[in-house]
């Protein structure tokens, strides 16, 4: 079981969360011309690194907030968590 520290609720079991994928993917700006390559990159292309990965989780069975988690994809160690509006460095 992973234990994830929700920035709003504290340390909670993984079962309370649902996964939202890579948090570093940026949506193309609204009301601007978007090339199909940019759109492709946003919708489909992923780096999926082995090692540190910044990702989105939702505390679905808790406060229901989306949060950012920095986690190692090889060891599952969690280094840092933050609100979605905050940066993880």
């Amino acid at each position: 079981m992973l234990y994830i520290k929700c920035p709003y609720c504290g340390l909670r079991a993984q079962k309370e969360f649902s996964y939202g994928g890579d948090a570093t993917v940026k949506r193309p700006n609204i009301n601007e011309e978007v090339s199909s390559e940019d759109w492709d990159n946003f919708v489909y292309m992923r780096k999926s690194p082995r090692g540190k990965h910044i990702e989105l989780w939702q505390h679905i069975a808790g406060c229901r907030q989306w949060i950012k988690v920095q986690r190692d994809t090889a060891t599952h160690e969690i280094f840092q968590t933050a609100k979605v509006t905050e940066e993880i460095r």
């Binding site: 993984q14 199909s36 492709d40 919708v43 780096k47 999926s48 990702e55 599952h76």
Partner: protein, 418 residues
């Protein structure tokens, strides 16, 4: 090469089985090959075999970081089927079924292919309608499909919960009688033995550390055992695809996730086919040793760990218990995990790349094992002819930008959702 038969078995019994030939050699890498296949799993071994057999390209090396058959080909739940609705997937996998049917004879290695049938259970009228549609599509592509009602299912799997109190009653199911299982290790070993015999170098414990690309053309690879020149390079590395893609500055529509499976203690024969639960993600079959082989959802987060967590196993087996209450009295023998190359539409990619001489075979999601022969066959064709075969003409990388997705399961880009 020594032929395996009942006579060679008897002959070798007299010398206490001490004098069997090695099944494949352990060569040191040469400095140059016509084709280098990265990844010594089922797909890589099959590709090398069909390159040698179908295209007479024998100056081939398979580069494997660990040992052959130690990755997903030894970690899957051995299910073989072609019950797909989309033409591209159905034709591709039905061609593979034909390869499976002759594989033991062709490889002179008993892969124990056993067409014992697969039943996808339905638990609502809507699901029955969807299965009728899928079954009709399958039949149009020449695949056997049978829509079963509740009583027919009950005859085949009387041990399932048919009581009135169940949350998800069984309405019926879709059966592909020609689907089945095979012994996964034997598939890897059989391909390895024949490929080795035709001159393919199987190089184990050799990690790829980089690529030589000059002016958009592949020139060779760098490995932990020295540089190897190659005219063509094929990637067949499943869950490690993104690690190698990063070395090539390529971004792919792939995420790597961990998928777990488990087996129970062995029991007497009680389930002769493969059964999937229709109200959750759970599938089950019984191995020839008697173990119940079970699997289901991904753990649901990016992972390269080759091991998962308990909550997913518990969740999957909750579905299993709802279908087969007798499972609660079995002991679990072991659980394990493998890392899946989850593509964004749930279908595989077998294609050329923007780098000349570099070919890509990935995106197998939950179901790479069943496609091992046809994946190797079409990938070998793609590499040898430098063009895709009709069978993989829709399994291309550019389908994501052109919108020609093969979203068989309709999961969108979140393929980790069960």
């Amino acid at each position: 090469m020594q032929k395996y038969s009942v006579f060679s078995l008897i002959k070798n019994a007299f010398s206490n089985h001490q004098n069997w030939e090695v099944a494949w050699k352990d060569p040191t890498p040469k400095s140059e090959y016509d084709v280098v296949i990265i990844g010594g799993g089922g797909h890589g071994l099959a590709t090398a075999y069909y390159l040698a057999k179908e295209h007479n390209i024998r100056n081939v090396a398979i580069i494997e970081k660990g040992w052959i058959g130690g990755g997903n080909v030894g970690r899957n739940t051995t299910i073989i089927r072609s019950n797909f609705m989309y033409d591209a997937n159905a034709r591709f996998n039905e061609f593979g079924m034909d390869l499976w049917r002759n594989l033991s004879q062709e490889l002179n290695f008993n892969v124990m292919f056993s067409p014992r049938g697969i039943i996808n259970l339905a638990h609502s009228d809507a699901q029955m309608n969807a299965y009728a549609r899928r079954g009709n599509s399958m039949r149009l592509n020449g695949i056997d499909a049978k829509l079963l009602d509740r009583d027919e299912v009950k005859k085949l799997i009387p041990m399932a919960d048919f009581s009135d109190e169940v949350r998800f009653p069984i309405f019926g199911g879709l059966m592909q009688p020609s689907a089945g299982t095979a012994r996964h290790d034997a598939v890897a070993w059989g391909y390895a033995r024949q490929a080795d015999d035709m001159g393919v170098d199987i190089i184990q414990h050799c990690e790829v550390t980089g690529f030589d690309v000059v002016n958009g053309k592949i020139k060779g690879i760098r490995t932990s055992r020295g540089d190897i020149k190659a005219k063509k390079v094929g990637l067949c590395v499943a869950g490690s695809t993104n690690i190698l893609a990063e070395k090539l500055n390529m971004k792919l529509p792939i995420e790597t996730h961990v998928l777990q499976a488990c087996v129970s203690e062995p029991v007497k024969p009680l389930l002769d086919g493969v059964v999937t639960f229709g109200a959750g993600h759970f599938y089950i079959s019984q191995s020839d040793k008697g173990e119940m082989v079970m699997g289901g959802d991904l753990d649901g987060y990016n992972s390269y760990a080759q091991r998962g967590n308990l909550p997913t196993i518990q969740h999957v087996l909750t579905g299993g218990l709802a279908l087969f209450p007798f499972l609660s009295r079995l002991k679990m023998l072991r659980t394990w995990g493998g890392i899946m190359d989850m593509s964004m539409d749930g279908s595989p990619i077998i294609d050329k790349t923007h780098i000349e001489g570099l070919y890509l075979n990935c995106g197998w999601c939950y179901g790479g094992f069943k496609s091992t022969p046809v994946s190797g066959w079409t990938f070998a064709h793609t590499i040898a002819q430098d063009q895709v075969h009709e069978l993989n003409s829709e399994l291309r990388l550019n389908r994501f930008s052109t919108g020609h997705l093969l979203d068989e399961k309709g999961l969108g880009t979140k393929t980790w959702i069960g």
